[in-house]
Symmetry: C2
Subunit: 205 residues, 2 copies
């Protein structure tokens, strides 16, 4: 039995969907960001980084979305969530998830988490203003290079799909017009129909 620590609207949704796909045994525990629970002593004992997601397993706690997604794929191989035995194809999956993590998520974080990188209130405002442009550029690269269709990696649904979907759900709030990106739009519609996505979203309330 795993325990997934999450907060609604965060990238923890990706791991949540991935756990739902093979019917993994887990419970979901909400971390209340509105009261700063992620910085509480109790939570820092689980994840010293003070962030979500964190996945408690019987061997220890795992964090970082790309690692968690590959873990779920490897722990539940029958669900075929990643081409684990093909070094090139698996690297492609990880390349996409690494880009989503280190470029796209980081661009998005400059809207509400600017204080991570500057102490200056005016500077934070200038970061916020650039988010539609940076997230728009990411959406252009995703549209042009990353979605083979119908799923990210082509015919096979993989751990790239819940991660891309989680991040694409941020685009509208980041003032990116999704209507400009037909592949992203089709991917969002397809993901919204998946039972695993619906179950994870319903649990997150």
């Amino acid at each position: 039995m795993y325990t997934l620590y999450y907060a609604p609207g965060t990238c923890a949704l990706a791991t949540h969907i991935a756990l739902e796909e093979p019917g993994a045994p887990y419970k979901a525990e909400r971390v209340d960001f509105s009261t700063g629970q992620q910085r509480s002593t109790d939570y820092l004992r689980i994840n010293p980084k003070g962030r979500v997601p964190a996945l408690v397993t019987d061997k220890g706690v795992l964090t970082e979305t790309p690692a968690l997604l590959a873990f779920v794929a490897q722990a539940f191989p029958a669900a075929k969530l990643a081409p684990l035995a093909d070094p090139f194809a698996f690297a492609r999956v990880q390349e996409i998830n690494s880009y989503l993590c280190s470029t796209v998520h980081v661009a998005h974080a400059h809207k509400t988490r600017g204080a991570r990188w500057t102490d200056d209130a005016a500077a934070i405002e200038t970061m916020k203003r650039k988010v539609p442009e940076t997230m728009g550029a990411c959406a252009e690269l995703i549209e042009a290079e990353l979605i083979r269709g119908p799923w990210v990696m082509g015919d096979q649904y993989t751990i790239c799909d819940p991660y891309l979907h989680t991040i694409c759900r941020w685009l509208e709030g980041d003032s990116v017009d999704v209507a400009r990106f037909p592949k992203i739009q089709a991917h969002m519609a397809r993901m919204t129909e998946r039972p695993a996505v619906q179950r994870a979203l319903q649990m997150q309330g």
Copy 2:
């Protein structure tokens, strides 16, 4: 035969060292950042993101350091660069590399790449000023949580080691006093002695 596109001083060093460890067949091609070669039409055809590293393989081009490192580990299993068959241990390796990529490298990038996230020159200066603090906080977490010793994962040298080393080489330039961190210091000394590290650094000139 692989081709690794790199620039000196960048995170491409991690993949370069990893390729040297098992004696992978590759050549290294320098991308000249001083003339903006990474934004040239020719290079964008190799890597549309305009960054290094990029690894040309006979199946296609791969990018993103965590993906490249796991690829080298999987393509050369005899070198035992990652615990590939153990989902939890492999997730731990990936968790560390994902943290280095999306938090530590991003903190460092605010020193010289602030224009990615703001158009305001004064804001960029405020970002630069915070880098010693953010990189210092990363070094504290690395020291307290990530290095088991003698290598990152303990007795077994893995793909975490060249990545951590590459990033630790930035600490002094980011005004972080490495003398405060004995485990990091010992890891740097140990890595500097490895023939693979010496060969990669020599090739990068």
